[in-house]
Symmetry: C2
Subunit: 154 residues, 2 copies
């Protein structure tokens, strides 16, 4: 177990903000000849406990995933309310929002990144784990996402 | 050999436009604990035969690569003159410019994509191969890059 840094340098996901997820999912499916994935919606704030800029937010997003080898391509359609997803769409339009890494020990990794001047911008839970977006845009040109799946084998 | 489509769905590279490659390479190196890579410069137009929007361009860029598993992260600092790199920096600022796929048969793949309304925006050569950027931003929200290494085993 790596006790400093992210503990990994393996990109596991590319997250792309889109305006219309049905249209984009169809386009990716057609261009790459991949099956069109189901569109899911992030959990409501009572379940996801979503925070943005340190405050609770009811923001949700529609998601669809394509398997592109080691990397999954995540399409994200923000559904309004303040979030890093909506902020990106409003400021930059469609495009790659984040690259994600599968980590263990969110708290330690967040502390490590804060020590580098990279702070948490949004956090939330999904079934089996939690995600953390850190605002690394000024340092790295892109948001990083930390994905931690909880160990359920104990 | 796949005769339709891209022939692959495996992302091999994430290309990120930056303003100052030395600063960004240092930041990635520090955050991920990866060795700081050498910065290289794309070939001059007489060697690279670079075209942008169908016309020859003297545009060059500084590049640096980080190994992140299946995917390499490519930092790109445009050095001026018209190019898809410079256009992205001027319009969007720093951020992910493209995702790349290793293909065979650039001509056929380009024809396939043109059939989907996705046209070539920039092409050029590097030692051992060629690259093609296609303007898939309106369809897919991001530029695709086709990387073809020439077979030298015959």
């Amino acid at each position: 177990m790596n006790t400093t840094g992210l503990g990994t340098t393996i990109v596991c996901q590319i997250g792309l903000i889109v305006r219309d997820i049905e249209k984009s999912a169809q386009a990716y499916s057609e261009v790459f000849g991949l099956p069109r994935p189901d569109v899911i919606i992030t959990d409501t704030v009572d379940v996801a406990k979503t925070t943005y800029g340190g405050a609770s937010t009811t923001a949700r997003a529609k998601l669809a995933f394509f398997d592109m080898g080691q990397v999954s391509l995540e399409l994200i359609e923000p559904m309004g309310e303040p979030s890093t997803w909506q902020e990106f769409l409003d400021e930059k339009g469609e495009g790659v929002h984040h690259i994600a890494f599968r980590i263990k020990g969110t708290e330690q990794v967040v502390a490590y990144l804060e020590g580098k001047g990279i702070d948490v911008v949004q956090q939330g839970y999904y079934t089996g784990g939690m995600y953390t977006y850190v605002d690394s845009t000024s340092a790295l040109g892109v948001v990083l996402e930390l994905l931690e799946n909880f160990d359920t084998t104990e």
